[in-house]
Every structure is written in C-alpha cells, then in structure tokens.
Symmetry: C2
Subunit: 384 residues, 2 copies
C-alpha cells in the first residue's frame, strides 16, 4: 500500500490538549490528518476537535506508552512529558518528533545551556548550582537570573536576583544562574526542520514582554532590526535546530544586546506563542509548518503575507469563573482583526484565554490599533 499521511490508516498523536494542539488541529483538517490527543483534562481546548481524545497523564510512563503505541507519528505541545516513555516508543518504531533526546536537553535548562556552550551557540554566561546555599558563592556577581533547571513554565520558576536582599527568596533547587543581559530587544525565530533535513526559518519577530508577568504581551512582525541582524538571527536558529538534529518546529528566543550581539535565551521544541501571527501574516502558519515537518512533507513558504501584531488575551486580575469577553463584538467589527479564543470555560488572572492578531500593510498602524484594542477587550467572568 502507498504511504498515506491522511485519512484512515495514519494516526498523528499529540501529547497535551491545549491551544497549541487546537490550532494544530484546525490546520490538520485541511490535509485530513487524523489527530489523536491525550490530556489529563477532559475539557481541554482540543478535546472536542481531536479525531479521538484520550484522557491520560502526559507525565505518566504507562499513559504515554499506551497512547503512543499505535500512532504513526507522535508529537507534543508542551515539553513536560514523560521522556522515558517516548524513548521506549521510539525504540518500538514510533516516530517521535521532537525526538526524546531533544526533549531531554530542553526539559533541563542546565543541560540546555551546556548544549549551547559545547556547540558554540552564543548565549549569556552561566553557572549551575544545586541548591540555595551555593548561591552565596555568586553574591558578588549580582544581579543574576535564577532559573530552576526543571519544572518552570510560562514565567514560573524564573526570578531576578538584583541584590543580596533577594537571596532570601531564591529557589532552593538545582538552578541555572545567568548573567542578567541588558538587552535592547527580545527577538524570536521560529525554525522548522523536516525528516529529510530541509530547514526553513520564519522572519524574525520582536516580543514586547510584560515585565511583571514575564509573559509575551505584544509581538511585532517583522522585527524592527537591520537585514544583517535578521539574517544573523535566522542563521543562529538554523544552527541550533541542525545541531539538535531535531525534526519539527523550534522557537528560538534571542536577546539583542545594547552592543548588537545576539544571544540565545531559550528554545521551545514546538509551536510557540511567538508564532501565532503566522496564521494570518505568513504564507504558511507555524502550525502547518510543524505538521509538514513531522509527517514527512516538504516545508511551506515562510514568506510574509502582511505585517501584524499579536496580543495575548489574558484573564483579568480579580476575575475567576466562567469567561466573558467584554468588548469582543466591538473588536471584531474592525478590519484586519483576527480573534482566536481557546475554548477555556474558566478564566483566572493571567490565564492565556486567547489571542488577537491585527494586520495592516503598515506595521505602525497595526501597533496603534492593537494597543487601542487591548484596552477594549477584557477577559472577565460572567455576571448574572
């Protein structure tokens, strides 16, 4: 029988059933790729749209092994997966993309940094410590960023230690200590590599962080940087995915320092918040690109369609309960405004509930509109 990656007879498994899986499914529908999802939460954003949904724990060896056993290709939408099970599945002949060896490196921020060092990938200088006590050795090097080696996510497990007063709040866990970089911009490059080793990067984007939340708040595409830096950033991203020998999509977050150096901050081996705008702004979306990379297809064009700004819709402070999107009708009345709700019934402060992409031939006009609309749309909770 011919090799078919669509319709009956081909099963793509996804570990994790959140918004990244949901947008992957929207894209997979176009190619009739049957997407099977496992998540611990039966009302996860993917649950109704998976070809088949399995309730299971992605950190459980048995659950992952059982779910993966009959899949042709297995992928993840979050890094925190039981990698032992993925390795066992790989040995059984299941294609696991990103590969378990990549997840092993990336799950541990210490290993990740050592990988950069070994492969001459530019990154902030660092030290590894085993516990809070060892921090005292570095007190004279403050300010430092402390990142827990494992278990952090979405800004959790990361903190800045500015002065010796901050040492008391440090994490007492195996950690990475990084020099605090005085950066001009935070950039991101989404790069994909398929089974044949073909590599393509999306244009570089610029992230505007909300310092308080340590979350991407606005994303601008294209980044306002020189062509030289654009090319350099893409080469770094392509170098990382090549050296990781990874199949799939990799988001590479970079600092642009005051003296125009590019340093890799961290990477995520999956579709990423900094690539959501590609749905409307590029010829191929990051979701379709990931799909193409892992099921053996040629990669799609990453060329621009239109400039754009992406803004996350976060749950407002002070609201917990059934989500209500205040101002939504007003926002979608405007041209070039694309709302993506993730289907989460319950809002809580800072929860990622959706995102909005604003497109315009002039990026500055898109920025102005996005900032205005962010004030209009608020995720609160239903009132009776």
């Amino acid at each position: 029988m011919r090799n078919k990656w669509y319709g009956e007879g081909f099963k793509l498994g996804v570990l994790g059933g959140g918004q990244l899986g949901r947008m992957l499914i929207q894209s997979a529908i176009n190619y009739d790729v049957h997407v099977y999802v496992m998540d611990g939460n039966e009302s996860a954003p993917c649950s109704r749209f998976a070809y088949e949904f399995t309730k299971g724990d992605i950190q459980s060896y048995d659950d992952v092994l059982q779910f993966g056993a009959d899949k042709d290709v297995l992928t993840v939408e979050i890094e925190h997966i039981n990698v032992d099970a993925l390795e066992a599945l790989e040995k059984q002949g299941v294609k696991v993309y990103p590969q378990p060896h990549v997840l092993r490196i990336i799950q541990d921020k210490g290993k990740q940094k050592m990988f950069y060092k070994k492969h001459n990938i530019p990154t902030a200088s660092f030290e590894l410590i085993n516990n809070a006590n060892e921090l005292s050795n570095y007190a004279n090097q403050l300010p430092l960023i402390q990142k827990m080696r494992t278990g952090g996510y979405d800004g959790k497990g990361v903190q800045v230690l500015n002065s010796s007063d901050d040492l008391a709040k440090s994490f007492d866990a195996p950690s990475l200590l990084e020099t605090k970089i005085d950066f001009k911009k935070e950039l991101s490059v989404i790069v994909a590599r398929n089974e044949k080793g073909e590599i393509k990067s999306f244009p570089v984007v610029e992230c505007e962080f909300n310092e308080k939340l340590n979350l991407v708040e606005f994303l601008f595409s294209p980044a306002n940087i020189s062509m030289e830096l654009e090319n350099k950033a893409k080469l770094i991203a392509e170098d990382v995915i090549q050296k990781l020998e990874m199949t799939g999509l990799l988001a590479v977050e970079l600092f642009l320092t005051q003296d125009n150096q590019l340093l890799v901050n961290e990477v995520a081996p999956r579709t990423h918040n900094s690539g959501h705008h590609t749905i409307e702004c590029n010829k191929t979306s990051q979701f379709e690109q990931h799909l193409r990379a892992i099921i053996g297809l040629p990669l799609g064009s990453t060329a621009f369609e239109i400039p754009g700004v992406m803004v996350n819709l976060l749950g407002e402070q002070g609201f917990n309960g059934s989500a209500y999107y205040q101002g939504l009708e007003q926002v979608i009345e405007e041209e070039g405004v694309y709302v993506h709700l993730y289907g989460k019934e319950q809002t809580k402060p800072y929860r990622k509930m959706g995102h909005v992409t604003v497109t315009n031939q002039e990026l500055e006009a898109a920025k102005a509109k996005a900032r205005r609309l962010q004030d209009v749309i608020k995720v609160i909770s239903s009132q009776e």
Copy 2:
C-alpha cells in the same frame, strides 16, 4: 445572564455534515462557537469536528424537529431540508437562518423564478410546465434549459434541450423552462445580511464551468469586469437578499450576457463553492461571514487580501474506492498554494473531494499555476 454566543450555553445547530459544515467549524473554533451537526452519514466530513454529532435524516420531520429543539440558532449547509420542521422550530422560538420562508422559495426553482419576476430582479425569461407533455407547446422556442422544479443538485436535474430530438430525453416532472442565455461570463456574488439588516457583498468572482459536468471547475477572484458591472452585480445581489428578508449568507449566480446585461441564474442560501477562495483571499472568509450573520455579530470586512484562483478537486473518472491524492506533495511544495481536503474516505467519479486555492499578487500568474497544478494533482484510488 449576559448574552453569550460562545462557550457553554450557546448551541449552533447545522443540518448537513459535508465540507461546507466542516469549513464552518474550522472558522467557528476561533470564536469558540459550539457547533452541533446532524447528518445521515456517520462518517460525514463534519462528524469528528462537531461539538456533538447526531445521526439523523435532514429530510425527516421528526429528526429535524428533535435535533433543532434545544438549539439557539439553526442553519443549513444544503437546501434540501425538511422545511415543515424548520417552520415548527421557528414557531418554538429557535432562530432558523436562512429562514424557512427563504428555503421554501429556493427549494422550488419555479417559485424562485416567480419571486424574481415579482420583484423585478433581472433573470432569463421562463415558463413553468407540469410534465413532459406540456413541452410540446414550447417546441418552437428551442433551445431551452429544462430544470426540474425540485430535487436537482450539483448539475443534476438540469438539461439543455437544443432541438426537437432532445424532447424525448426531457424530464417528465414539474419543470422550469428557461431561455438559453448566450453569456460571456458566469459570475457569482456572495452577500450576507445579519439580524440587524446590515448587508455586505464580497467582490464579484468569475466562474469557469466544466460544461460536461455542469460544475464550477475554476473560479477567479477578482472577476475581469468593469467597475460599473462589478457594482451593478453587487447591487443585484444585495437587492435579492434584502427582498428575501433573509438572514445569513446568499450566493447569487449571475450571467453576463453578450450585450452586458446581468441576469440572476440562481441563488443558494448558504456558503457556496464559489466562495471557497475567501478563506485565503479576503479579510473575512465566507464561513466566518455566515457565522457572524446568523449569531448576531457585525459583518466582517469583505476586502481583498490577495487575488486567487480556486479549483475543485474532483474524483477522477474510472476510480472508485479509498481516495489517494496523486501529486499532492508536489502541489503543496509551491508557494501560495492552499489545499483543502474534505476528509471523504471514498472517491468516485466527479465527487467533490477537496479544493485548492492558488494566490498571487498577479491573477494571471495564479491562473497559469492553477491550470498547471490541476494536471499534477489527481484524485484516484489507493492501489495495494
């Protein structure tokens, strides 16, 4: 409680579970609108993506009534629905869009033509007959198009009677006889009207029919017509939806005659094959526009994003069985080529299995690429 059209507590019902419903669901996911689908076929293109799928007969009074009873809004993706049940549901307070009175008119091609005549909507002249015998009265007016008043679909129930020799093959059923129009082009306008009466048309498109199949083969956006004709076509479409007092999306097919008259051929009160390109080519897709119209939202911008050509992927002659898309990998390797497979496992000759949209800033370049790719991609059946 506030009026919510997303999440739990709002149910959109769709009668019919084919590709139109499938693409509607892809769009509805962005707004977290829960789409419930009923279709007679458990493996219909929508079945796995509906929030809930119900197996039922859309022509059965009981099935439609039962399915619709707990829905907030009910819509259709095919005209051949039990309208008696829709009327009963409308009386129960369910919002049925398009309204049953519109479906009554459109299901019967005779009533449809009488509606145009009554409302001074330009259309080819016609006669109504009850059976084949009455045809003899019009033998001196040949050539004529005979269309069965009810039951035709996708080119079935329609034939050209060129000479008296053809009378023997005429349908012996209540029919519409239309003057055969010598047209330069076939055009289509997709127009939407929401609950508040707001109306918006998409730019006019040009259809290239396959005469043999009586199916749209290529669709070009924008149509190569004067601005005057463009505006006139849109005004006609807007006039039709206004006079129908319809809520939802209406596809208005028009003939452009040799002497530059525009005549309404027929209309479809739903998303339509001639609007598939809007997914990539316009600010708002026809699917999102329909959704907006029926759930009480402001209509979206119909402005161009990029010119494009849509080509249907029809099952090749001589192949029946499990679908195999020959040349698919080659096609998706090219920039600006968007494949939509409908998830039908079985192919048969001329079955609509998917479509491909080719975009390019230059329409002529898109046309050339679409014609070339149509020769590359073939829907055949799997061979062992």
